[in-house]
Symmetry: C2
């Protein structure tokens, strides 16, 4: 797994500059990279804030000295003991919930443990996955009052504009971002008008972060994939192909000229099974194939994958020719989905300058 450090730096700076211009804080999601060296570059300070998708990530970042962490997956009661352990190390660990049942579990734990929790209420702005409906005043207020009864407190709201990933154009992303902002503000207003505080209004997704026009009322933007970008993001016009900072290095192990295809030794174990571009205007198969220096071959994609093999060939109906490659030649594959492809690897091989010279190796963490 190769990482072009200069591209990553450009990608990170691009979003940081944009959000700074809008006066809104970036709360980087670490689930894409899961790497200390990259986390340092994503966070504004070594104490955070950052967003994580597992308590394992929170524990690793707490070990690293981070003190402000948002665990952005809805809490389940049995995880609260681990949350307390992390809090006890001096970390403000925000947890997320979207139901009165979860609020009761938090209250009961507070009563039992005499520990209080800081909570964001997840708001469902697009029907994509989880969250309270923005206009469900009853549930929002009941969550606030339920946990307050044992000393825990709601500190704000969060939304995830997951729907923006399936947008068909930039206008749709902008509308999704605005809908998300309004949903979050609506819920925040419900909380405040019931005389509870609501300091945090957290919205998120890389497409929305890149294209939203209005951040009024928003206190932070969560985004993760923007550091690497990927073919799905390129298909959404969020980035260009040349901005994609990670790729999988692979070797040609078979040339089937008569069938106009190559066999290479990177299967789904290295590329992942993500087919995120399958519903986009340009279907990139299991990845777009580049030279060993990272220059894309025209319309050359990964047509199929097995565990340790991939079949590479021209995009169907493109009329493209198979480039002249032989057994032993190296190629790179750009990922559909950076989070999924990176997750298949234990480390990043870092390229700084020379596209063929690996200058460093950065470990990834994983697990739950």
């Amino acid at each position: 797994l190769l990482l072009d450090e200069a591209k990553m730096t450009n990608n990170i700076c691009r979003l940081k500059r944009r959000l700074a211009g809008h006066g809104v804080r970036l709360n980087p999601h670490l689930k894409t990279s899961k790497c200390l060296e990259i986390s340092s570059r994503l966070m504004d300070s070594m104490t955070g804030p950052c967003t994580v998708s597992t308590l394992k990530e929170a524990e690793v970042m707490a070990d690293f000295g981070v003190r402000h962490i948002l665990y952005a997956v809805g809490i389940s009661p049995h995880k609260l003991d681990r949350v307390v352990e992390i809090q006890n190390r001096g970390v403000e660990l925000l947890i997320v919930l979207d139901s009165v049942d979860q609020a009761i579990a938090v209250r009961e734990h507070s009563e039992r443990s005499q520990v209080s929790f800081s909570v964001l209420i997840e708001i469902d702005a697009d029907g994509h996955r989880s969250g309270v409906m923005p206009d469900d005043t009853h549930t929002i207020v009941r969550i606030c009052s339920t946990i307050l009864a044992a000393g825990s407190r709601v500190v704000g709201v969060m939304t995830h504009s997951g729907g923006s990933y399936s947008a068909s154009d930039v206008g749709e992303i902008k509308r999704a971002a605005e809908r998300e902002r309004l949903g979050a503000l609506n819920a925040a207003e419900t909380i405040r008008s019931s005389h509870f505080p609501c300091d945090v209004v957290s919205v998120g997704s890389t497409p929305a972060a890149i294209f939203a026009d209005n951040f009024t009322g928003v206190t932070e933007v969560r985004a993760g994939v923007f550091a690497f970008f990927d073919l799905v993001m390129a298909g959404l016009e969020v980035c260009g192909i040349s901005d994609i900072a990670i790729s999988v290095l692979s070797t040609v192990i078979g040339v089937q000229a008569e069938r106009s295809r190559l066999i290479v030794d990177a299967g789904w174990m290295a590329l992942s099974l993500d087919r995120g571009t399958s519903k986009q205007a340009i279907d990139q198969g299991y990845g777009l194939v580049c030279s060993d220096e990272g220059v894309p071959y025209e319309d050359l994609i990964v047509l199929g994958v097995n565990q340790e093999h991939a079949i590479v060939g021209p995009r169907p109906n493109s009329g493209a020719k198979l480039p002249k490659l032989s057994v032993g030649d190296r190629i790179r594959v750009l990922p559909n989905h950076a989070c999924a492809t990176a997750a298949q690897h234990d480390s990043y091989q870092v390229l700084a300058g020379d596209p063929k010279a690996i200058t460093d190796s950065w470990s990834r963490f994983r697990g739950w």
Copy 2:
């Protein structure tokens, strides 16, 4: 990642008994399990043989004392140095190739290093992926003579009946297995009639291993997923749902009764993105959902996944109802594809007897 040891033992014994009855050796493929404890149960002896998909697996097994290893992915020239290192530890490491270009690379390495290699020629019996056509006498003989010129030797042929995974019924699997056997024997006969030895005739895939009627002329059968089985294999009638030995334990973090769905905390990071049942008669989504004791709920499947979330609900058009589950309740998810799901985890939590009591933890290895 839970592993029901009793089910795995039954699955392993079933195939071993079957192949013993046919007088043919099992050469277990370790790429599914990647685990020393499971490898010991799969191999007939602690010295092997075994089949691997990466040189990393070969190195781990060499450290473990295994002395007969088949590296079943077509060789690329730059890997031959690592092959030599493994051979130098007293391991017979068979490598695979399917082109004269690879044979020339092997010969050149032998000339340079004064080390000889033992080679299987991969034969393409079904057009699925790699291999020389069974009737391509010219290429087969030229590979044999090319490598012999520097002291390396072809010891046999191998085929992979990858096409059997997309069979529509058992009859089709049987026909695929027989086509594979005949292709392998045809190529072996070509080698022998050119006065080269051909001791090994290796065929493989779990469906073919379970259903083939005739192993005449075959010296070994490679199979891997049979130890765990999965929903794809159940869809092919290779096993029953109740034979599936691994599952992913997850917790309900949201109940959306009005939308008839649950949110659980196992996303693609835990389940994989495999959709191998999508073209089968019964589409299992991203997995079939069971109680925390492993009993499937009727028509309850994983409808969608994000990195750390899954959306669970009744199979579309099944008329099934959402079972009564609450936030904090545990479920298990059976995998579409055991290789892909297991690859998302670092260890197996072993259940022996009590379906809720984890008795051991077995590490997985990974990487290349």
